[in-house]
Subunit: 221 residues, 2 copies
């Protein structure tokens, strides 16, 4: 049974569009094409990120747009170095790992490094006395908004986590008081795959929702 929302301000078609953006969003690595991303499109995507919730309205996120190829080559080298130690697998899984494409730093024309001010003056500390990590969580909310906005602009986004954040600090001149939360590769794509790359490659399968939902207390399922 589908219950219609009370006093809807979103039509059924509009709700479906939002759900479709979420379902068809992919972590893109191998499918980038080199078409330029216009500044106005990138601005819309960053505006979406900037509309995210933040603890105490602190807006602790900062975005560094990287288009320069020389800079991206240095980041790519940092990925290669980290990937040497991240390849911890044996046997068949090592063979599978070697086949995965895990980044599109040079293939995507735009990269965005997302950093967080872990102790923002803005917001006056509201909500961070008990859970200081909420500044970083706010920054991740911004990233997910960015990812969904990119999807409806037909832009793929790939999050590179196989990299030493301290190397990114050096390359992008990020001060010590800030934390690198994500390094994102952004560009148009050949196509959005029906399934996550890691599912298609046989690396991992998705869980059914029932496996991650409890009622009233943890472990009820």
């Amino acid at each position: 049974m589908i219950t219609p929302p009370a006093k809807s301000t979103f039509s059924a078609a509009e709700r479906a569009a939002v759900y479709r953006a979420m379902r068809s969003r992919r972590d893109v690595r191998a499918d980038f094409i080199s078409d330029e991303v216009p500044e106005d499109v990138l601005t819309r995507v960053l505006e979406a990120a900037h509309a995210a919730p933040s603890v105490g309205l602190s807006q602790p996120w900062r975005f560094i747009i990287v288009r320069d190829v020389a800079t991206r080559r240095r980041v790519r080298a940092a990925f290669e170095e980290a990937n040497g130690t991240a390849a911890i697998y044996d046997g068949a899984r090592a063979e599978l790992y070697a086949k995965l494409q895990l980044q599109g730093i040079l293939e995507a024309p735009v990269n965005v490094c997302v950093v967080c001010d872990d102790d923002p003056q803005r917001g006056h500390g509201l909500g961070r006395q008990t859970m200081p990590e909420t500044a970083r969580y706010s920054t991740v909310c911004a990233i997910q908004n960015l990812w969904l906005a990119a999807r409806v602009e037909e832009l793929g986004v790939g999050w590179v986590s196989i990299i030493d954040p301290l190397v990114l600090h050096r390359i992008l001149e990020i001060p010590a008081g800030l934390t690198v939360v994500a390094y994102l590769c952004i560009g148009y794509v050949r196509a959005f795959a029906d399934e996550p790359d890691l599912a298609r490659a046989g690396w991992e399968t998705g869980l059914p929702l029932g496996e991650v939902v409890d009622r009233e207390r943890y472990g009820s399922r």
Copy 2:
């Protein structure tokens, strides 16, 4: 200038719906009404969360749905206790803080505690050698999906961060190996405010986008 996306699969109206969901999403505390949230609506919202990206396809998030009033009263008491020590302000700001409503634990008919498995077996560690915090970040991506799905279902969401996570572990029987990422209050609302509550109350103002965007290196702005 508005550049249309290449090979659009989202119409202009569909893209606008996604952007409107993001812009009109609010952190709701004072505006909940008591109408029940039907199970099928809640399931759609949780399916949206479960469609989030996750490092290594590890899907480390777990959702505990709390409807029981006795349980929510205990959580509310935990908020009150934490809020006693979080009220660190003096003078005019202390008066302003005292007026803010910071949670809707009992007013919203559904609460969802979101926890994260920080060291999931699923995903085989991919992407977590260099940045183990990406498991929690994945969980926050799921929360932002939930928040936006709730918006198009006309449900408000309020994130309570003024609470001791260890007390939530006790109340909800969450094992030690898991981390509480968020405690969310969910329900239908009287209205979605035009601005964030903290902006309306004069606690903080929003930054223009230009203040949070750099080019090629940090600090270029």
